[in-house]
């Protein structure tokens, strides 16, 4: 949808970017080898491609190139977003509450709205398919493709299709999926994973993209963003001309009219949905909103939250297939509504996570995400919201670091356009670690003892004196009075920064000396 590279505005013909004459671009270069899909261990509901959070975080936290890439995109965007929100939506907070309440209401009555939506879609001439898991969803798409004799499948950006690993399933069925969002295309031909919900290649630099393109298109290396974008544009134009079937995601599904809304910036979603014979839209069942007239609430918030844009370049609203007399649009319009664990989440204390509209604002705001990048989370859903939903989809026992690796700074909650209280749920999930046996064995004893030590004035005073004495006398310190090496649980602190030495007297001693009257 969004890529860090801007598509060129002027029109360039294919011959302008043609590679050297002796190496013509091969229109049939698509093969399973070219369109790689990276290997990973299959988790329960979501694909997991990096199970070792800590090891990955260690590397990413030192990766200055990654940090620079983030600074120049998502961090910059974050402050642009703040300005746009302040200027355009003076009452953004009320709008966020409204959006959050609309989503909460929909989730509370999801059975009703799902049925209403399915009826509306069918009334408009579309077909509705329900999939209980990723495999079923993929099979539905494969079956539609086979029945309609479609082989080349163009896809606009869809996180649900990442969730189901649709590309892998299509390739296995001898079908050819082409990602048409520029960022997703780069991910696809690089055999990489998206690292952000909205900016899939935010972790890459132009040089890396240039290398990937040089190899794939068999052209001399360039890292000029305009030239790279033009190569992709020409390539994709041809695929659009050849393809029969378009797969898209869904940003919002209006229950009362059966309309779906797809927000995109590159025009590729419109090509995928209007030019193809068949359009298959995939959605998680939480994408519903009650009424068509609720759409503006979300459109006002989505693009602003995602990248500080007032609106995406294209807001495609699609209701059913091409009608008699219409020139554009597919002959068949299908919607695949997927559960894949969502009804389990709906029934849990974490229902609010299903409000998420995948804008990525919490990722952009998050100090952790900014430093470790999306790949560290090991899931297609990274960042604060990913830290919640990845364990919910796949089981907390496989992702015990995700809810713990948080400073609880609250930036995600503040950024969220639908007011998901992410920090509070991360805290609750930390509590759940005990239920799945993933809390360190000593932790509950530490907190129990600590609490006992704090639950009494005398104990507290003695505890403070003991800590002070130990720190002042037992541990290594610098000449100017900072502790430079602490043992045990505090070791991590002094590995990367110094620790202050407690002054000789604590506050309550100074208070007494001051001779002020106190109440006890």
């Amino acid at each position: 949808m969004n890529s860090r590279m801007k598509a060129p505005t002027m029109s360039i013909t294919e011959s302008d970017v043609a590679p050297p004459a002796n190496e013509p671009p091969n229109p049939n270069l698509l093969s399973d080898n070219d369109l790689k899909h990276p290997p990973h261990a299959r988790g329960a509901a979501l694909p997991i491609f990096n199970p070792d959070f800590k090891a990955h975080a260690h590397e990413a936290a030192l990766d200055e190139l990654l940090h620079d890439a983030h600074e120049n995109s998502i961090v910059k965007n974050w402050y642009a977003r703040a300005r746009v929100l302040a200027a355009d939506l003076p009452d953004a907070d009320a709008l966020r509450s409204l959006a959050g309440n609309l989503k909460a209401h929909t989730l509370d009555h999801l059975d009703f709205y799902l049925e209403q939506f399915a009826d509306s879609v069918e009334k408009a001439g579309g077909h509705v398919h329900f999939a209980s898991n990723a495999e079923e969803a993929n099979q539905i798409v494969v079956d539609i493709a086979r029945r309609t004799h479609s082989r080349l499948i163009v896809k606009s950006k869809s996180m649900v299709s990442e969730e189901t690993e649709l590309n892998r399933a299509l390739l296995a069925a001898d079908l050819i999926p082409i990602e048409t969002d520029l960022g997703e295309l780069i991910v696809q031909i690089a055999g990489d994973h998206p690292s952000h919900l909205v900016y899939p290649i935010v972790h890459m630099r132009a040089k890396q993209i240039g290398e990937v393109f040089a190899k794939f298109f068999n052209v001399p290396f360039t890292d000029d963003p305009n030239a790279l974008a033009e190569m992709a544009r020409v390539y994709l134009r041809n695929r659009f001309a050849e393809a029969d079937l378009g797969v898209s995601g869904v940003n919002f599904a209006c229950a009362d009219t059966g309309s779906i809304c797809i927000c995109a910036n590159e025009g590729n979603a419109r090509m995928c949905t209007s030019r193809m014979r068949i359009h298959v839209a995939m959605m998680g069942m939480e994408k519903l909103i009650p009424r068509f007239t609720d759409l503006p609430v979300f459109l006002k918030l989505l693009a602003r939250s995602a990248g500080g844009q007032p609106l995406t370049q294209y807001s495609n609203i699609i209701t059913g297939p091409k009608r008699a007399g219409e020139l554009d649009g597919p002959d068949e319009f299908h919607i695949v509504i997927m559960d894949n664990g969502r009804s389990r989440i709906l029934a849990s204390d974490y229902r609010d996570t299903l409000r998420c509209i995948r804008c990525g604002a919490c990722l952009n705001a998050c100090p952790i995400y900014r430093k470790v990048g999306g790949h560290t989370y090991g899931s297609i859903y990274p960042g604060p919201i990913g830290a919640l939903i990845t364990p919910l989809f796949n089981g907390l026992e496989h992702h015990e670091h995700l809810p713990q690796a948080t400073t609880l700074c609250g930036a995600c909650y503040e950024a969220c356009p639908v007011k998901i209280n992410i920090p509070e749920m991360l805290i609750a999930m930390k509590g759940d670690l005990k239920l799945v046996g993933k809390d360190p064995w000593y932790e509950k004893y530490v907190f129990r003892l600590w609490t006992i030590g704090l639950n009494g004035k005398l104990r507290y005073v003695l505890g403070q004196k003991l800590q002070r004495f130990a720190m002042r006398h037992f541990f290594k310190k610098s000449k100017d009075g900072w502790l430079t090496k602490l043992p045990g649980l505090a070791k991590g602190w002094t590995e990367v920064r110094d620790f202050p030495l407690p002054p000789k007297k604590n506050f309550r001693e100074l208070w007494r000396e001051r001779g002020l009257k106190n109440t006890t």
Binding site: A405, A411, L489, W493, F507, N518
Partner: protein, 252 residues
């Protein structure tokens, strides 16, 4: 106006000077300050690590200790945010405790919040002893208290002898996060180094950090990696400015 000081365990042990400055400023603006000595910790570490039962034990203690207080003021904002955001959840639907808990929550204020919302102080006329460049780190609890940076920054800008230098990424967490700092050392280090770098870019002498935990983290990183600035609590600056009203006269 009677104010009970909620010092918090970290400030008590590691930053007693912040506590003394808080008392001095509150008294200067006409408050009668007391310090209930039976207070210990608000339970924030327990709560944030998923031990609400333990946190509740300490929360009950806090509510008992401050039962007779008119206002409760704390210089450590994250502890205030703990009270404000999480105490109501800890005692939700508990008939025996809920009213007392909500009463406690309603009278608990963060230092800057209390100065600006309740006392509505005007610091114009106060001035630091020497020209000081000041920058401001938006500690995360400020977000929890829905305060914004305005109240503190406006107050500092009004102090004489200060120049204000805005901090890049001022609203990005310092990477402390309690046990996070020792559990996820690598990530915490990357975040706090970023804060020190941004702080150095401002050329400021002082970075205002109104929370004991963040100040320990940023201070520790400043000491390890070198910095032009010192993290300080705004109460310390205000106390200096109050002292400066009648500077000691040179003898003879």
């Amino acid at each position: 106006m009677n104010v009970s000081l909620f010092i918090t365990c970290l400030t008590d042990l590691f930053a007693p000077q912040v506590g003394m400055a808080t008392v001095q400023v509150l008294e200067h603006f006409g408050c009668k300050v007391d310090f209930p000595e039976a207070q210990t910790c608000c339970g924030q570490p327990q709560y944030n690590n998923g031990y609400p039962g333990e946190a509740r034990t300490l929360a009950e203690r806090m509510i008992r200790v401050f039962k007779n207080s008119q206002y409760i003021v704390t210089p450590s904002g994250s502890c205030c945010a703990m009270v404000r955001e999480h105490y109501p959840l800890l005692f939700k639907d508990d008939k025996r405790w809920e009213n007392d808990a909500l009463e406690f929550v309603a009278k608990t204020y963060e230092f800057v919040e209390f100065l600006t919302k309740v006392l509505k102080v005007d610091v114009a006329g106060l001035s630091l002893p020497s020209e000081t460049a000041v920058t401001y780190h938006y500690t995360c609890h400020t977000r929890g208290l829905h305060m914004g940076e305005g109240p503190c920054v406006d107050m500092v800008k009004k102090l004489g002898n200060t120049t204000f230098a805005p901090l890049e990424k001022h609203d990005q967490c310092c990477g402390f996060g309690g046990t996070f700092a020792v559990k996820y050392t690598d990530i915490s280090a990357a975040i706090v180094k970023d804060k020190v770098t941004c702080g150095n870019q401002t050329q400021a002498d002082v970075m205002i950090v109104n929370d004991a935990g963040c100040a320990m983290n940023i201070g520790g990183a400043c000491h390890r990696y070198g910095a032009h600035f010192k993290p300080r609590h705004v109460a310390e600056l205000l106390a200096e400015a109050i002292d400066n009203r009648h500077p000691p006269q040179p003898k003879g």
